[in-house]
Amino acid sequence: RFRDIAAILATHTAQMKLFASEGNPHCLKALAALEVTGVQCDVQYVNHEERVVPFLSRPALPALLLPNGLYLFSSNAICRYLFEVSGQESSDLCSQWLEWEATDLQPAVLRALHVAVLQGKGAEVSKALQGPLNYLDQSLSKRTTPYLTAESVSVADVVLWSALYPALSASSLASVQAWFDRVAAIQGCQAAAQKVLQGKGLQGMKNYMQRQPAPQSSQCRDTLSHNSSPTECDEGERVVSEEEMEAAALTWSKGLDSCPVATERQHPILPQEGKRNILLTSALPYVNNVPHLGNIIGCVLSADVFSRYGRLRGWNLLFICGTDEYGTATENKAREEGLTPQQICDKYHAVHASIYKWFQIDFDFFGRTTTKKQTEIAQDIFWRLHKRDFLVEDTVEQLRCESCQRFLADRFVEGICPFCNYPEARGDQCDKCGRLINAVELREPQCKVCRQTPVIRSSKHLFLDLPKLEGQLDEWLDKSTGSGDWTANAKQITRSWLRDGLKPRCITRDLKWGTPVPHPDFAEKVFYVWFDAPIGYLSITANYTDQWEKWWKNPQQVELYNFMAKDNVPFHSVVFPCSLLGAQDNYTLVNHLVATEYLNYEDTKFSKSRGVGVFGDMAQDTGIPSDVWRFYLLYLRPEGQDSAFSWADMALKNNSELLNNLGNFINRAGMFVSKFFDGCVPVMELQQEDKRLLAQVGWELRQYIQLMDKVKIRDALKHILNISRHGNQYIQVNEPWKNIKGGDSERQRASTVTGLSVNIACLLSVMLQPYMPAVSQTIRKQLNAPESCINTMLQGTGTFVCALTAGHRIGTVSPLFQKLEADQIEALKKRFGGQQVFDVHEATSQNTASAKPAAAPAPVAVAETAAVNGADPERARQLTQAVAEQGDKVRTLKAQKAEKAVITAEVAMLLDLKKQLALAEGKSPEPTPQKGKKK
C-alpha cells in the first residue's frame, strides 16, 4: 500500500538523498524505514567520519538531504518524515514511543554496544538493556494489537526494532520476543539489516564504535558542573545510615595493634611472588630543556604521587625515570655552548636531577639514556626485529650541508615556503601559512648554522614495518585497554592513529649523537630518538639492577604503568609496543597508560623563548615551599581537560584550602590537646554525633582510595579537603573551648571532640603523604604519631582507626602553612612573564565588568567602588579577605543549621564576591553552577 503512494510521490522526493555508513547502527532505522515505506530516495554510503551536515562539528549519520536543501540529522525525525510523505502521519502513541526511544532506549543500546563490541563482553548486553526491555515488555503485554501502536506496522515499530536489532539477538521476555520476530519478518527490515551490518553481527560495528566517545553513565550536566574543581563540590548532604555509623565505630575501635609495620625499601626492588608487582615509568624528559611546571605535573609529579600511594598500599613497586639525551637538539645545544654533546648531557642531567629532588620526586632510580646498557638493549631489539623481517629498507631524500659536513634535521633548514612564499619557513612547517612541509620542497633552502645552500642527497634507511604488526597490536590493545586503566585521551588518541592506518616508520638517522645502528650496511647512522628513547626505560632499569629482565620480560607477574602528557601517547601505545611485540622476547607491555592534558600558564602557553611561565629551577627561588607547589599543581592537574596555572588562584587556594581549611583544622586539633589536656590525648566516649562523623570520614577515605586506585589524583585530593571541612564544622558545632570550662559532662564532651579531631588529623597526615610528603611528615612529628598508622589506614577499602589512643603524648604543635600575600604574588606574577598576557586580561575584564548589570550590594565597602575597574591587585587582596570571611560566615551558619533562606542569601553574597574577585584578578568570572535546579 505504501508503494503505490510512494510512486505518486516519486517526483516530489526525487532530489532527496540519504547519507549512511556501513556498520553504523543508527543507519539501520533510516534504511529500514526506506525499505518499508518504499519511498524513492538515493542512498549514498560514506565514511563514518564524513561531515555531511554542514553545521555540525561532529559527524552525524544517517543524514537526509531534503528537497528544500535542509538536512535532517536525527534518525527518528528521518523515519517520521519518510512515513509522513508515504501517507502515514504519526499518532500521539507513535510520538511517545519515538521520544522514549531517543531518551531512554538509545543511551542504553549505546552502552550495551560499547561493552559488547569494544570490550568483548557480549554477555553484559542483556544487563545494560534490562530496564528499557522490561518497560517495553510490560507495555506490549498490555496491548491487544500485534504491533506497538496499531494492527499494522508503524514508524514506532520500525524505529524500536532497528534500535534493538544490532544489540539484541534474543530476549527472554516473551512479549518482546514475539513482537521482535513479527517486525523482523517484514521483508524490508531484514534487507536493511543486511545492508548495514553485512551479516557480520557485532564485529560489523567495531569500526564505527571505535570512533564514538565512550558513553556516559547516565550523568548529566547538572551533576557534572559541580565537579569542576575540587573545592566547589556538594557540601556533603549525604545521608549517613545507622549501620554505617556502627560499622565505622567498630573499625575505629580496632586500633593499630594488629597491623604490620612499614618495611624499609630494600634495593634492588624485584618482583615478588604473591605481591602486586608494579613497574612505574614517567616519560623521559628531554635533557637540554629545563622542565616547566606543565612538564612536571604531566609526568614526574603525577607518577610520584601514584608511586608513593602504591607503596602506602603495600604494593611492591619500582619507579623509574631518567633523561632522554640523544638527538639533534643536543648536538646543536653543544655547538651553541661550545661543549661536547656528552658534556651538555652531564650538565643538564644534573640540572634535572636537582629540580626533581627539590620537588621531592622519589624515584627509585633516575638514570639516563646515554649508557652502554642502552646500546646493548637497543641493538638487541634491533637485531631481533631484523631477523624476524619486521624491518624494511627504503631510500630517503634529505638535505645535506657540505660545509658543516652533516645531514640537516628539519629544524636546521630555512627557506621559502613553496605554498605561500613566506621567506622564513622552517624545514617541517611554515609559520605563516601553517602547512606541513617536506624539507626538500623548500625553495632556496639554507643551513641555519652556516647559511650555505645544502644539497639533496638520498640515503638508505630502515623502517619499522608497522602495518605488518598491526594485527598483533590490535589484539594486544583490545586486551590492555579492556582490562587496564587507560585514560580516555590515551584510548582516543590511540584509536585515531589506528583509524588513519599505520605506515612504516623510519628508525634510522644520519646523525652522530645517538645509539649506533649495528648493521654494516647502515654504519655511520644512529637510531631515531622515538625508537631509541622508550628503550631507555629498559636500559635505565638495567643500570639499576642486573636482574632488570625480571621486570621487563615478565608480563605474567608485572603490571606496567606509563605516565606522560598526551602528546607522548602514540609512541607508548602504538610504536613502542610494536617494537616489543615484533622483537618477540616476552616483554612486559604497558597495562595502564595515564596521560594528562596540557597545563597552560595564565591562559597562555609556557614559552621558554618568550620567558613566559615558571620553570622548574625558578620555583625554588619563589620562597614558596615545595609542598605548596606540589599541592597547587596537583589541585590543577589537567585530568580530563586542559587547565591553567594562575598566580592569583595559587594564592587563593593556599590561603583558603591549605591555611583556612586543612592547616587550621589540624592546628586546632593539636592545640586543644596541648592547651586543655597537657599534651595527652584525652579519653573519648563516642556519641551518635561522633559516630556520624566517623562514618562521614570513613566514606571520604573510601572514595579517596577508589579514586587513587584508578589514578584520579586530582579528584582524590577533593576528599582530603572534605575531611578537614567536616572536621572544622564538627569543632565549630561542639565548641570544645567552651565545654572545657563546664561541668563533668561538658568536659567529657570536650575530651571526646578533641580526641576524635586529633585522630582525624593523624589520618589526614597519611592521606596527604603522596601529595605533600614534607607536611605529612611534619604533622606526624607534631602528633608524635606511630609510623604504623601509615600502613594501617590505607588497607583494603580504607580503615580509619583510633591511632592516637587516650594517654598518648603528642609533640609540639605549630602552624603548617603561611599566608601568601597579594603583593608577594603580584611581584611573582610580574617576574615570570605574564605581563603581556595580563594586559589582554585587564582589557577584557574591564569590559566584562562595565557591561554587567549593576552588581548586587556587597557587605564590604570596598566592593562598591571598584565594579568598573579592571584587574586591581589591591582590591583583589581586599576581596580575597572578604571572600574568606564570608566563606567562614556561611560555614558557621551551616554548622549552626541556620534557616535555609538565610544561608541562601549569604551564599549568594559569597558567590557574588567570588565573581568580583575573579574580575579584580583579571579573569573572566567562572560560570556559577546552577544550584538547586531539579531535574
Binding site: F55, S95, E99, W100, A102, R221, N847, S924
Partner: protein, 173 residues
C-alpha cells in the same frame, strides 16, 4: 522543570483549564492524564498533543519538511541538550550558532514549538555565558533574545540581558 515548561506552554496556547500531570520513573518523565483516552507520556509528545488540542497546527510546521525539522529539534532538546555534558556545551552552542546563521527561527522564517522548547532547554546554558561568549555565539544569542521576547513565551524563566551593541569588535577573546 518539565511541568513548569508545560504549564508555560498552556498559558502561551491560551488553554482555558490547566491539565493534570503526574510523573513516572527516576527521570520524572511527565505524564498527561486526560479524561478521554490513554495517558500521554514524554515532554515533547505532550507538548505536541497540547498544540493539536489548541488547534495551532502551524506551530508544528506547515509542510512535511518543516514538520520534520520541528520534530528533529524537539528530539534534540530532550535527547541531546538535556544530557549534554560540560565539555559538550561549547560544541552544542557552536553548531547551533552555525545553523542559525541564515535563519530567524529553527524551522526557518516561522516561529514553532521547536523554538519554545529549545529556548526553555538552552536557558540554563545562556545564563552561564559571559558577555564575550554571548558575542561569540551571536546567532544563538540573537535567536534566544528574539524568542524570550516573543509574546507569551517566557513565563517561568528569568529574562537574560543581551547587549545589542558589540563590546568586543576584535573577535579576540
Amino acid at each position: 522543570m518539565a511541568l513548569r515548561e508545560l504549564s508555560s506552554l498552556e498559558k502561551y496556547l491560551g488553554l482555558k483549564k490547566p491539565n493534570k500531570y503526574s510523573t513516572q520513573g527516576d527521570k520524572k518523565v511527565p505524564v498527561l492524564q486526560s479524561n478521554n483516552g490513554a495517558p500521554v507520556a514524554g515532554l515533547v509528545t505532550i507538548a505536541c498533543h497540547l498544540v493539536k488540542q489548541a488547534q495551532r497546527p502551524e506551530l508544528l510546521g506547515d509542510s512535511a519538511e518543516s514538520r520534520a525539522v520541528v520534530q528533529q529539534w524537539l528530539e534534540y532538546r530532550v535527547a541531546r541538550l538535556d544530557v549534554c555534558t560540560k565539555d559538550d556545551i561549547k560544541i552544542t552552542l557552536k553548531d547551533l550558532n552555525l545553523y542559525l546563521q541564515d535563519k530567524v527561527y529553527l524551522a526557518g522564517n516561522q516561529f514553532t514549538l521547536a523554538d519554545i522548547f529549545m529556548y526553555y532547554g538552552i536557558h540554563p546554558l545562556i545564563v552561564d555565558l559571559a558577555v564575550q561568549e554571548k558575542e561569540k555565539y551571536v546567532n544563538v544569542t540573537r535567536w534566544f533574545d528574539h524568542v524570550q521576547h516573543y509574546p507569551g513565551v517566557r513565563h517561568h524563566l528569568p529574562l537574560v540581558v543581551v547587549l545589542r551593541n558589540r563590546v568586543y569588535t576584535s573577535g579576540h577573546h
